[in-house]
Symmetry: C2
Subunit: 107 residues, 2 copies
DNA sequence: CTAATATGCAACCCGGCGGTTGCTTAAGAT
DNA sequence: ATCTTAAGCAACCGCCGGGTTGCATATTAG
């Protein structure tokens, strides 16, 4: 699974939009929502919401399941876990840099 | 500086680019880098790198300090800590949904 | 002083993104 | 069989983002 590297930028990009963030906020509650349901309350068109959902889907953050005439979207946690790990590694590097600096000053 | 709330989408967007991710990777090591230094090794132009740095700066992830004729960029950890917290809340919601589902199935 | 280095500024190009409108097709409801 | 609701498809639009080139300016080196 080493070939999966360098693929977290699209995940960040997918989350880099307020509309998409609110969609994620709704969907991560566990319950699936149809496109129409997700459009309710939003000032945007159904097609606009659909496009945003496709972006999230391409990033692997959600997936759709056709159910009758509606397609229900469900949350998928793996990509977000992935970027959480990445951010942890960034923080860790930073913390190590800080402690190196501190011990340097102290000596 | 309290009126900064609900502004994590720009942070995600700033990280939604491979070039910017590698800049962050370099800068989070603690050592400041000038624009020319950051351009070294990259196939991009100095101006391209500069633009990326400005994007990161607007998101609060880095800041520049003028030093003589060069401007050195340094990492700033707060915005990334912010989105880490946000992602934690998403994961938490998801986990709670899972456990609710589990206990529902079990009864 | 002069040359070289580091950056800033501005214009420009192109492609993709966010969003809309219009029409079509698929499934339920009556 | 018909009406209605959910969604897909496609074209179109304005705009911003990533990238380049060209030139101007400031600071350091010789």
């Amino acid at each position: 699974m080493a070939a999966k590297r360098q693929t977290r930028a699209p995940v960040f990009a997918a989350l880099g939009d307020e509309t998409r963030l609110s969609l994620v906020a709704k969907l991560c509650g566990g319950r699936p929502y149809s496109i129409s349901q997700l459009t309710q309350g939003s000032k945007l068109t159904r097609q606009a919401i659909t496009k945003h959902l496709r972006v999230l889907e391409s990033a692997g953050i959600v997936h759709s399941v056709r159910r009758g005439r509606e397609s229900r979207f469900e949350f998928d946690p793996q990509p977000i876990e992935g970027i959480k790990q990445y951010l942890d590694s960034v923080s860790e590097q930073w913390d190590q840099a800080l402690s190196r600096l501190k011990s340097f000053v102290e000596e």
